[in-house]
């Protein structure tokens, strides 16, 4: 059972376009994190959102945590080839800071 569903699974866009990736769950999380993973490497943390309704910006990336803390979105403005990668959302529940990862969104940005 996948607790976190991401959509779309794949996205191929041209440089300069905007895009939104969604991360949805029926469960409530105490916090949610977004990671980016490049081929041959481990995921790298982009942001953590904690409060329902919270919005965080990281340059051209905007992250939002849903009011009910069950979903999140990642919006990229004016995508660049350097944004190419696998984007993963991950929710924190319970003890030991265990993360449950979403299925991932693979983004390809071409010139």
């Amino acid at each position: 059972t996948q607790l976190l569903e991401q959509s779309p699974q794949f996205l191929s866009i041209q440089e300069g376009e905007n895009l939104t990736v969604y991360c949805n769950s029926s469960s409530v999380f105490s916090s949610l994190q977004w990671y980016r993973q490049e081929p041959g490497e481990g995921p790298v943390l982009l942001v953590t959102v904690v409060t329902g309704g919270e919005v965080k910006k990281l340059k051209r990336l905007t992250f939002q945590f849903g009011d009910a803390r069950k979903d999140s979105s990642l919006h990229i403005t004016a995508a660049q080839p350097g944004d190419t990668g696998l984007y993963l959302c991950a929710g924190v529940k319970g003890t030991a800071s265990k993360l449950t990862f979403g299925t991932g969104t693979r983004l390809q940005v071409t010139l």
Partner: protein, 113 residues
Amino acid sequence: DAGITQSPRHKVTETGTPVTLRCHQTENHRYMYWYRQDPGHGLRLIHYSYGVKDTDKGEVSDGYSVSRSKTEDFLLTLESATSSQTSVYFCAISDPQGPSGYTFGSGTRLTVV
């Protein structure tokens, strides 16, 4: 000067043989994790550790065991490798008292033939 390293980076082994993957950290973080990553499944937790000699199972622990005799090392063992254990394995560390988020190693690509 990576704070977390995995070894080996690549391994091919035969069905039925034992395999041990090593994760080494220099951050003195309390928590360590082993995940596997497979297409269509994302990252799934195998085992985790919340201190020396303190470990617990994740969602896909069958066929795997772990040991943590020192803070810096977390070993993952496949007692008798099967083809279904062909995957990319990632180790991660976290510090509950510090900034949130995991730091991941670069992964071990394991192929069981």
